[in-house]
Symmetry: C2
Subunit: 138 residues, 2 copies
């Protein structure tokens, strides 16, 4: 399976999780990462909250994220008053959702490790329990 | 050019229009119309408003819309508190934006004509001027 197909499958997995709640919707953004305008991989929304989500799966013990994609996620979120989240799934673990300020910043990337994500990421069920965290990003 | 490519080009045209305003964002939804969950063609948003948009271009004097796609647009909009709009461009005219209640309902479709759209649709600039019309759809 190509890297692109794997990415799309990961995104679809998250989309199903949202729709299964009955209250949430989620959809994939076409061409995210390749179009000229900033856009997240997934837009999830219910009647009260809107989330912009970047998705990553990793076979290693760490996950790097390009500064550009994080900055574009934050730009999109700011312009739309949407909560920015990064969804990461390390092999043999469940999806965790982490905020940008909980990633480590290196010279060229943002990065998190399997251990750091376990500590600072939240599971899907907890993501849904939060009241809007949008205020943080205004 | 295939029908699908024409559809994507029409959607991109609208996306550019939103981004050119500086205040608005817009993105195409992947697989809209073919995925199993309801989703609009385009999600446009600024800091205050969120729009779910179905896009159509027509070479004829009328434009039919499947009941299913309109009902899915309304379902998505209701679940996400988003304004549902239909963007239609008849040949040699500019894009007009129309609300579902201003389409004519037939037994199997919704439909509008070039003349009806001119009367009941609004231009892009006016769409942006409106304060949120979300209340109408709650």
């Amino acid at each position: 399976m190509s890297l692109k197909s794997k990415g799309i499958n990961a995104e679809r997995e998250i989309i199903h999780m949202f729709w299964q709640t009955q209250e949430w919707t989620a959809c994939r953004v076409a061409g995210s990462g390749s179009i000229k305008y900033p856009a997240p991989d997934i837009i999830a929304a219910n009647i009260h909250r809107k989330l912009a989500i970047e998705c990553k799966t990793s076979k290693n013990k760490y996950q790097y994220l390009d500064k550009k994609e994080i900055h574009e996620l934050l730009e999109y979120s700011k312009k739309t008053n949407t909560e920015p989240w990064i969804a990461i799934k390390f092999k043999k673990t469940e999806w965790k959702f982490i905020q940008v300020q909980n990633l480590k910043k290196t010279e060229k990337h943002y990065v998190t490790t399997k251990a750091a994500l376990k500590e600072k990421g939240i599971c899907f069920e907890d993501l849904l329990k939060i009241n809007s965290v949008c205020e943080t990003f205004k």
